[in-house]
C-alpha cells in the first residue's frame, strides 16, 4: 500500500471520528433528556477542561509545574464579576479584559519565577497562589471578601440571555473546542517544537538558540488566559463566587486533572477534567451510603490516592492509554502495517496524533 493511499485512509477515518464526535456533542443534551444535573456536570467538565488544557500545555510541553493555577481562574472570575456587575461592562468585554489582566499578571510573575527550577519553581507558584487567594479574600471593595460576590449578570448574545443550562452547555463547549483546536495548533507550530525541546533538555535547547525563558513565559501567559476565560464563564454561569473556589486546594485539583489525563497530549486536560468531575460526583453519591457520617470534602482522600497511584504506576496519564487506542482506530491493522516501509509508518504515527 502506498503512502498516498494510506494517508487518505487515515484522513477518512479521522473525518468519521470528527463527525461522530460532533454528533455526540450536538446530541448529548437530548440524549440525557435535557436533564439539568447532567448538563451542569457537563458544563463543569468543560470549564475545568479549559483550565487544565492550558495547564497541560504548561506542564506537558513546557515541562513547568504550577501549583497556583486557580489564581488565574479567580482573576477571570472576579474581573468579569466586578466589571459587569459594578462597572456595567458587556460580559464579552469583561471576559477579554480578565484574560488580558491574567496574561499581564502571568508576565509579571513569570519573569522572576521562571528563573527558578524544580523545587523552587513549585514553591514560588504555590506562594503566588496563596498571595492571590489572600487578595481575593481581603480586597473586599472589589471581591466582596469571604462573604462572596453576589448578583453577577448572565451572559447575553445580542438581546438573548444565556440563562438555561442548555444554552450554557453549547457556549462552554464552543470555548472548549476553540481551546483544544488552538492548543493543537500551538503544539504543532514552531512554538510547540521549541517547547518539546525545552522539555527534553533545557541546556540542549538553549545551545541550539531556543530562547527558553521567552517560550516558557508565553506558554505560562497562555495557560493563564485559558484559566481566566474559564473563570469568567464560571462567574456568569453560577452568578455567585467566593474566594474558596480559587485557593490552593482548587489549584491542586487542577493539577490532579492534568495528572489523570496525562500531559503529553492536548486531550489530557479534557479527559482529566471529565474523569475528575464524574468521579467526584460518583463519590459524593456513593460514599455517604457506606459511611453515613462522611461530610465535607472527604473525596480528597480518593483523589490523593489516585494522584499517588497514577504517578507511580501510570505517569503518562489516561491519554497515554487512549492515544494507543485511537491510533489503532486511525491506523491500519497490524497486518497492513507490515506492508508499509518503516519511514512511511513513522510519518503516519505523527499524523495519528502521537507525540514524536
Amino acid at each position: 500500500m502506498g503512502m498516498e493511499q494510506y494517508r487518505r485512509m487515515v484522513d477518512r477515518r479521522k473525518q468519521w471520528l470528527l463527525l461522530a464526535g460532533a454528533a455526540v456533542w450536538l446530541g448529548l443534551p437530548w440524549l440525557v433528556f435535557g436533564n439539568n444535573y447532567v448538563l451542569s456536570t457537563l458544563i463543569l467538565i468543560g470549564l475545568y477542561a479549559l483550565v487544565s488544557t492550558g495547564m497541560t500545555l504548561l506542564m506537558g510541553y513546557a515541562g513547568q509545574i504550577s501549583l497556583g493555577q486557580a489564581a488565574f481562574y479567580g482573576i477571570g472570575a472576579y474581573a468579569s464579576a466586578y466589571l459587569t456587575a459594578h462597572a456595567g461592562w458587556s460580559p464579552w468585554l469583561a471576559l477579554a479584559a480578565g484574560a488580558v489582566l491574567a496574561a499581564l499578571v502571568a508576565l509579571v510573575v513569570g519573569i522572576p519565577v521562571f528563573r527558578l527550577r524544580e523545587h523552587y519553581l513549585a514553591l514560588a507558584t504555590l506562594g503566588f497562589g496563596v498571595i492571590m487567594f489572600t487578595f481575593f479574600k481581603e480586597w473586599k471593595g472589589i471581591t466582596g471578601g469571604l462573604n462572596g460576590f453576589f448578583g453577577i449578570p448572565t451572559i447575553r448574545i445580542g438581546g438573548f440571555s444565556l440563562q438555561s443550562d442548555l444554552h450554557f452547555y453549547y457556549l462552554v463547549s464552543l470555548f472548549v473546542l476553540a481551546g483544544l483546536w488552538f492548543a493543537h495548533n500551538i503544539v504543532r507550530s514552531r512554538v510547540g517544537r521549541a517547547l518539546r525541546a525545552i522539555h527534553g533538555s533545557e541546556v540542549a535547547a538553549s545551545s541550539l538558540g531556543v530562547n527558553i525563558t521567552k517560550y516558557k513565559l508565553q506558554i505560562f501567559m497562555l495557560s493563564a488566559v485559558y484559566a481566566s476565560i474559564a473563570g469568567s464563564l464560571y462567574a456568569h454561569y453560577v452568578t455567585f463566587i467566593n474566594p474558596d473556589l480559587f485557593g490552593i486546594v482548587p489549584s491542586i485539583y487542577f493539577l490532579i486533572m492534568v495528572v489523570i489525563g496525562g500531559s503529553a497530549h492536548v486531550w489530557g486536560g479534557l479527559i482529566g477534567a471529565a474523569v475528575y468531575v464524574c468521579l467526584g460526583e460518583w463519590l459524593k453519591a456513593v460514599v455517604p451510603l457506606l459511611l453515613p457520617n462522611a461530610g465535607g470534602e472527604f473525596e480528597i482522600v480518593f483523589f490523593g490516592l489516585l494522584l499517588v497511584v497514577m504517578l507511580i504506576y501510570m505517569p503518562n496519564g489516561l491519554t497515554g492509554v487512549v492515544a494507543k487506542g485511537m491510533s489503532k482506530i486511525l491506523e491500519m491493522s497490524r497486518h497492513q502495517k507490515k506492508q508499509v516501509a518503516p519511514t512511511e509508518n513513522h510519518n503516519a504515527r505523527s499524523i495519528g496524533g502521537e507525540r514524536g
Partner: protein, 293 residues
Amino acid sequence: MEAWSQFVQLLFSGLTVGSIYALVALGFVITYSVTGILNLAQGDFAMLGALFCITFVNSGVPFVLAIGLSIMAVMAIGGLFERLAIQPARRSSVAVLIIITIGVSFVFRGIALLVWGTDPYALRPFTGNEALRMFGAVIQWQSVWAIAISVVSFIALHLFFNRTYLGKAVSACVINPFAARLMGIDIRKMSLGAIAVSAGLGALAGIIIAPISGASYDMGMMIGLKAFIAAVVGGLTNAPAAIAGAFLVGMLESFAEGYLSSGYKEAISFGLLLLVLFFMPNGLFAKMTGKRV
C-alpha cells in the same frame, strides 16, 4: 507602657508560633537533606499528632503517655508513607515527587476528615490554665512550654547528629551517599529513619500547638507551608538557619497581625518566600554557615 506590653505580647506570640514552625521546618530539612524530597505532607504530621493525642487523652490515657503514643503512631505512619509512596517512586523527577507528597497530604487530610470530622477539637494545656504576667503582658504557660520543648528538641537533635553513631551515619548519607554506602550504611534505612523522625517532630509540634489554637483536619496545610517558608529562608539544608527562619516567620506574622491587619499576614509570609526565592535562592543565611543538618 501600653505599647510596650503589646510589644512583649506580640513578641511571645511570635516566639511560640516560631517554635512550632521550627519543629516542622526541622523535619523538612532532615527529610530534604537525607532523601532530596520536599515533603509537602510534613504539616499533616502535626495535624495527625494533635488529633491522635486528643483522642488518647479523651479515652483516659494519662497525658504524658498519650503524647508519647501519638508521636510513635505518627512516626509509624511516616515510615509507612516512605515505604508505600516514596520508595516506589524514587527514580521519578523532582516535580513528580513533589506532586506525590501533595497527594499524600490529601490522603492524610481526607482520612482525618473521615475519622474526626470537620469540627475543631481542643486539648488541655500541659499545665494549668493560669497565665504568667511579665512586663504588663499576659503570657500563657503553654507558650513557655512550646518554646522550652522546641529548644530542648533542637539540643537533643544536635547531640543526636553529632554525638551518636546513628546520627553520624545519617549525616554521612547527607554529605556523600555513595561513600556512606561503601562504609556499610544502608541508605534506604536512613531514608526511612529520616522521614519517621521528621514525622515525629511534626507530631510534637502539633501536640504543643493544639492547646493554643485547637486542632482540626485542615490545620496541617498552613503549618506545613509556613514551616516550608522557614526552611527555604534558611536554605533547605541548614538546620540552625531553618530554626532562625522559623522564628523570623513567626515574628513577622505576629507583628503583622498586631500592627497591620490579620488578613494579610499570610500574604506577608508568602511575600517573604517569593522575595527570598527571587533574590537569594540559597537562603538568607547562605554565607553565615556551611554546616548541614
